[in-house]
């Protein structure tokens, strides 16, 4: 599929006035046609609640919902689709895990996170740890904005029961070496949770081979709709985890004398799920799985290199994160001397450039870097060289005006 054919699969590009350079896919991806059609097809022409009804419309809805589960499982490399829980997003998935995993810790047990994490992979653990008296530690970052795994020994201990890290940083684009983390965690008997929000939009993967115990993602970042996500939990762990939310569909039998719960995945899917958004997520995963990811990864690396080279040529700009393209994806954050990220993003908007300024829900990382905020450009499969060039030109123009 050529770059322009690919763009044609994303309705927003035909809908927005030009110029339109969308460089904020790390915040939310644009929806692909397959997902938009699946969403509207369900919501407007085939809607029924799932998991119970026997009339055709309801039965078809249940089948579509389970098909989405299977499509997501296939995209993640999960063989048994029942290990995939349909959620409302990464944040929800991480909270579910924090609730279930931390609830069983003893005071003084340790949870290992990292300085690179998104708040969604920090705050749920803090809230849960506070309830049981568990201790939170953090893997430090290198000057390049990567996990400093050479210092893993300093923070991993025999009391570490859980390690939860991001697969890809939403600020620096650095890809974590999950294999090495899993190995170290296994050595002390800790479970490993991976925040996959920023990794999944860059191609299918094999979470079973990754070796972790759980993997969370959001549909809206995977070119599906807002409102749904998925959480993979390895079967042995899922079976021992208690429920998180209570409600319909997650039970076996309810009475005031005592309630028993359904097996996974239903145990973790209380209430009416986000059916349409989940079906859209399945459709996106199925469509994405058919693309040539070797070619797409090369294209993304080339664009990232072009962007990094262009930024390096602007004296006032300092890139936060790896300056090469090895072990990193197309998420590039930078600071500009004497220019506030919000002013920069606002002015770039007048040229149709959509970038995000702020702490990107990663305040500990910004604290470690000594910055209050940065400006971020993040790439997805629909970006091309014209986006990069417009950004670089726009930056020089904006800096002249603002600095």
């Amino acid at each position: 599929m050529s770059p322009s054919e690919l763009r044609a699969e994303f309705p927003i590009f035909a809908a927005r006035p030009r110029p339109f350079h969308y460089l904020d896919s790390a915040a939310t991806g644009q929806i692909c046609r397959a997902a938009a059609q699946a969403l509207l097809g369900f919501e407007a022409a085939a809607r029924a609640n799932v998991k119970r009804g026997v009339y055709r419309l309801a039965d078809e809805a249940t089948q579509a919902f389970d098909r989405a589960r299977a499509e997501i499982a296939a995209y993640l490399g999960v063989r048994d689709a029942r290990e995939v829980i349909l959620t409302s997003g990464t944040t929800f998935g991480l909270n579910l895990l924090a609730h279930g995993l931390v609830g069983r810790l003893a005071p003084g047990d340790e949870i290992l996170l990292s300085t690179l994490e998104h708040h969604s992979n920090i705050v749920p653990w803090q809230l849960a740890a506070g309830r049981v008296g568990a201790v939170i530690r953090a893997i430090p970052v290198t000057a390049e904005g990567r996990l400093d795994l050479d210092r893993l020994d300093e923070v991993l201990s025999r009391r570490t029961r859980i390690v939860s890290v991001t697969h890809v940083s939403n600020v620096t684009g650095a890809v974590s070496d999950i294999g090495r983390i899993v190995e170290a965690a296994r050595a002390v008997g800790a479970r490993v949770v991976v925040d996959g929000a920023q990794r999944v939009p860059h191609g299918p993967l094999d979470v079973e081979a990754l070796g972790c115990d759980a993997y969370a993602l959001s549909g809206h970042k995977l070119f599906a709709a807002t409102g749904a996500g998925a959480l993979w939990i390895r079967r042995d762990l899922a079976e021992e985890l208690p429920p998180f939310l209570g409600g319909g569909e997650m039970i076996r039998r309810v009475s005031f004398a005592g309630t028993s719960f359904a097996a996974p995945p239903h145990r973790f899917e209380a209430g009416t799920p986000p059916i349409g958004p989940a079906i859209a997520l399945g459709a996106a995963a199925a469509w994405l799985a058919g693309l040539d990811w070797q070619a797409l990864a090369e294209a993304e690396a080339a664009l990232t290199a072009r962007l990094l080279a262009g930024l390096a040529a602007i004296p006032a700009v300092r890139v936060v994160g790896p300056t090469g393209t090895q072990g990193r994806l197309g998420v590039v954050s930078f600071a500009v001397d004497d220019v506030h990220p919000h002013d920069l993003c606002q002015l770039l908007d007048s040229r149709g450039l959509c970038l995000r300024g702020g702490h990107h829900c990663a305040q500990p990382l910004h604290d470690a870097l000594g910055l209050e905020a940065t400006t971020r450009a993040s790439l997805a499969l629909y970006n091309d060289a014209s986006d990069i060039d417009a950004l670089l030109e726009g930056l020089e123009w904006a800096i002249r005006r603002l600095a």
Binding site: K51, R56, D59
Partner: protein, 140 residues
């Protein structure tokens, strides 16, 4: 399609309630339920790990569940456990892939259920109870 589910064969089988009741000295008793609808079967077996001598069941459920239980009640006594296991596999193949059943041709009455995923469990419930009972009988 929903109407075809209730053809004469299923209605008649459900009504006949073959095997309904209890055994005096069951070798094995299994209870199974379908948490989605609360349907429930209690199934009892007597016999050897090779051959079933007697089977009885008490079934509370929809017509599909009752027809499936009755079919088991009719065919099981005197059958080999191998034959019963083969029938369970045949039903599963019928529901998931549409493969016609050869050993128990009566299973054909469940063919229309294939299209209605939410009712598979209704038909399967008595067969799952049977599978568990066979496991126990064989000491697995």
């Amino acid at each position: 399609m929903s109407e075809r589910l209730y053809d004469e064969a299923i209605l008649a089988e459900a009504k006949s309630q073959a095997g309904a009741g209890a055994l005096e000295c069951p070798a094995v008793r299994v209870e199974a339920d379908n948490p989605l609808c609360g349907d429930r079967i209690t199934l009892e077996l007597a016999g050897s790990p090779a051959r079933i001598e007697a089977l009885a069941h008490r079934t509370r459920g929809c017509l599909l569940t009752r027809a499936a239980a009755s079919l088991i009640g009719r065919r099981a006594p005197g059958a080999s456990t191998a034959d019963l296991r083969a029938a369970i596999a045949e039903l599963e193949a019928l529901l998931t892939a549409g493969t016609p059943a050869e050993r128990w041709p009566e299973l054909a009455m469940f063919t229309p259920v294939r299209a209605v995923r939410s009712r598979h469990d209704c038909v399967l419930l008595p067969f799952r109870a049977l599978a568990e009972a066979l496991d126990r009988l064989e000491g697995r």
